[in-house]
Symmetry: C3
Subunit: 377 residues, 3 copies
Amino acid sequence: MNKSIFTLLIVFTFFSCSTAQKVTAPKPTNKTVVKNVMISALEWQESHPIFAISPTDWTAGAYYTGVARAHKATKDMMYLAALKNMGYWNNWQTYKRMHHADDVAISYSYLYLNKNGGRKNFVDLEPTKKFIDTHLYENDNWKAGTDKSKEGKTILWWWCDALFMAPPVINLYAKQTNQPKYLDDMHKFYMQTYKQLYDKEERLFARDMRFVWKGTDTDRKEPNGKKIFWSRGNGWVLGGLALLLEDMPKDYEHYSFYENLFKEMASRILELQPKSGLWHTSLLNPETYNHGEVSGSGFYTFALAWGVNNGLLDKAVYAPAVKKAWNALVACQHEDGRVGWVQNIGAFPEPATADSWQNFGTGAFLMAGSEILKLKE
Amino acid sequence: MNKSIFTLLIVFTFFSCSTAQKVTAPKPTNKTVVKNVMISALEWQESHPIFAISPTDWTAGAYYTGVARAHKATKDMMYLAALKNMGYWNNWQTYKRMHHADDVAISYSYLYLNKNGGRKNFVDLEPTKKFIDTHLYENDNWKAGTDKSKEGKTILWWWCDALFMAPPVINLYAKQTNQPKYLDDMHKFYMQTYKQLYDKEERLFARDMRFVWKGTDTDRKEPNGKKIFWSRGNGWVLGGLALLLEDMPKDYEHYSFYENLFKEMASRILELQPKSGLWHTSLLNPETYNHGEVSGSGFYTFALAWGVNNGLLDKAVYAPAVKKAWNALVACQHEDGRVGWVQNIGAFPEPATADSWQNFGTGAFLMAGSEILKLKE
Amino acid sequence: MNKSIFTLLIVFTFFSCSTAQKVTAPKPTNKTVVKNVMISALEWQESHPIFAISPTDWTAGAYYTGVARAHKATKDMMYLAALKNMGYWNNWQTYKRMHHADDVAISYSYLYLNKNGGRKNFVDLEPTKKFIDTHLYENDNWKAGTDKSKEGKTILWWWCDALFMAPPVINLYAKQTNQPKYLDDMHKFYMQTYKQLYDKEERLFARDMRFVWKGTDTDRKEPNGKKIFWSRGNGWVLGGLALLLEDMPKDYEHYSFYENLFKEMASRILELQPKSGLWHTSLLNPETYNHGEVSGSGFYTFALAWGVNNGLLDKAVYAPAVKKAWNALVACQHEDGRVGWVQNIGAFPEPATADSWQNFGTGAFLMAGSEILKLKE
């Protein structure tokens, strides 16, 4: 029981001494502090590997996208080492369902490493290429509309999370290989999802067709009668848009579509930010689970900060919200580095706890931190 | 030397402050404390991987059985993540000696995950099936009695440890696949071992034939003239019996044999518990190595607590012994989570130290904790 | 921000209490302290895996040579567990460039384990054998002198680092397999490098032909006009010589060549030791980067201490220098175990920082510690 005694001692010491002198911690947005909490999150996550189906699945995809962004922002080789280890032991494979957007999310990291890993021919992009080609150019029962599930699996990317998983990867692949055709095909499928799930009035995405109102009695509603919009689900979309815009040619014919969608959603997310700084899992009925949640909030913080840093969002308006969110995110991190308050794997609003964690939550935290580092005071 | 100075500082602070106010730690059997020390043990062990021959060997088998039991008791996904990682990277393989009980111990975790991993078709049970079928239904030189080693390798399970390694796995496989024939074959080999190694007078198992007295001058004796009964060896048997009984149909024709054996051994183990709470490595000559040992004691604590929790053992009699043992086990854990005082790999009583550790010792610790959590006050 | 507050608290407590009572830390050369800082370095490094190209590359080779030496000196099974894990998951492979000395450095650990791993047939030495045979007995464009790079790649081991990477492995392989012919071939290539890169006047090795003066205006010079001798480069050679001498038969006909070279370089390294204890990255122009560097200094500390411990160097002269160096090395270790002040991968003097780390730096640290443990007071 040494640990408990140790903790008690520290607490005791704190209270017995703290009256004598005030201790002022540096602000969470202090660059050194940001770097420290990010590294601490990485170290904890690397020593607590987790996956849903495989180390190449979307949970790893989202986490290592955060690691890649953290490396891009800091150049700290601890992130690079983590990425290289992951890619090496995964043998640069995607996961295996070639029409499931989730299974190519991991390739964002492979593509990042390919350009920033410092070694030629280290990354094998063949599995990524094969996935993308099959994904875009071969048929399956989702694309064919023959799947009759209630989720509305009649398009390739039938759930909003998919807009984080595949489009940024295809976009980056198009850029690295200088093949604009991939961008066009990406756009075609993106528009299908946009038309099916985007609620223009609410400026938010429904997670899938189960949550799109048909005006009947069976429409799913929150206890307060409003539509169900999932925080992480919209975090996937908004975070994915920031990733997309960064690598999309500014003269691409549909660039303004993505830019406008990004700004439109961003303004809505800003309106919906709770006073505490973190978005709850249900955006329109925050009372359902009355606490901030880290994965969705991390993606929002990343996206809004990216928008400020890249001149798409008004700094005077958005920077205070971003800082408030970051402060609140940091407060969700445990002393040992674990990022808590992460909703577990799911498809709609569910609660989190101080202890609940997932690698993609850590990824969202790292993505947020990577843009906080670039905020100019 | 920051660390040493840090430690000295803490110690110094402690002594300089502790006169002013008393610090009372919560009891080690407090449920939150139990969960914390268990997680701390897991985290340390996961970051200190070790094996004897392979990550699929019996040391991992025993350790991950503890992890599985800990998950069953707590549902903490940190255990689940560890189990899934292990199975994935081991590609669901057993180790390779198809007639060596040790090499299928790992399959207890695979079978657990198969039912409790939350994903269909995630676990590949083919290697386990192949092992069990070969193990039970194909001949080898142990079964054939043609091995002439002094250990008495004339039966399949010629050493008592084997009764932890294979029978609970076969039993659980029979249950999950609904094939009672496996149970019958398990029983046949169990009885061979029971007849060869169980000492009805002492109510303990000899480790192997080297330790069974023949009434000659060459009989191995402890310094005090008594028979050599190994703590961990009997821990394997008693712990294995608890695992067996849990998944064995209560109406199985030989259920009462296992129930009686469990109760008989449990009562003997209770009699032999030293005042300090932990059993020494030599059960009948505790002075040989005059300290408690964690792996054997962990299995006993698990088994006795399981017996209380499942109504096989009298709570009034056993619960105090179990709590005393658990308190002493927790005192063997280092501040960083390492479970010390574990006898290294062996086959008879040998000493341990505060620093000596092994993954199977951590497994025994987790098994014990998992049943302590279920003890009703 | 718990962590920062925690740290601040500790610092605060320290200053508020330290006036009351003096805390005296044990000396860094205290055996228990040495073992503790070594284990702490290992634990940090194992939880921060890193490689340049592959987990079998030279960075791992140097690191695990340190782990092997640490195990040899302490018998602590934490080192053995790390070695076995590494070898198992690397499937006992070398890296793949069969004429690149770097790619067989990892085999030092395999050979060590083969003799000291406690399991017969656990290590597969076939890949090592195949590498050595190809390396020594098949031609390539370096050996053939057809590579026209400015580095002078006209011999097998055309850069001084190579003398750490391959010769000790070949030497140990010759010893373990009792095939002296390998020693003769090693010697042949060693002499080529010695003739090409050893500066008899300075008693130091140039890194490669780019740093060997031709007496022309294009000769590379330090700002102070002196030749460029790289600390880690000479650390590779001197450290490699200690490894070589340990396993080379004392009656080998060229033993005295290696012994004399070792002594000659050792005396020069001693002369060049800065007052602070650690060598800077540029040996003859320490002002270039005005701080000690750990990887080179670690190899020197190892080699000089080994020389004292094995009677090749005068204890009265060298032991104080060695202790000073060790004290300074330990001061470069962070509280969490990370060994800082390590120059990153390179080929000539470049700076390091308190935070810069690499697995081979940790390896050098462990090698140093392993001989400090054997120093008699």
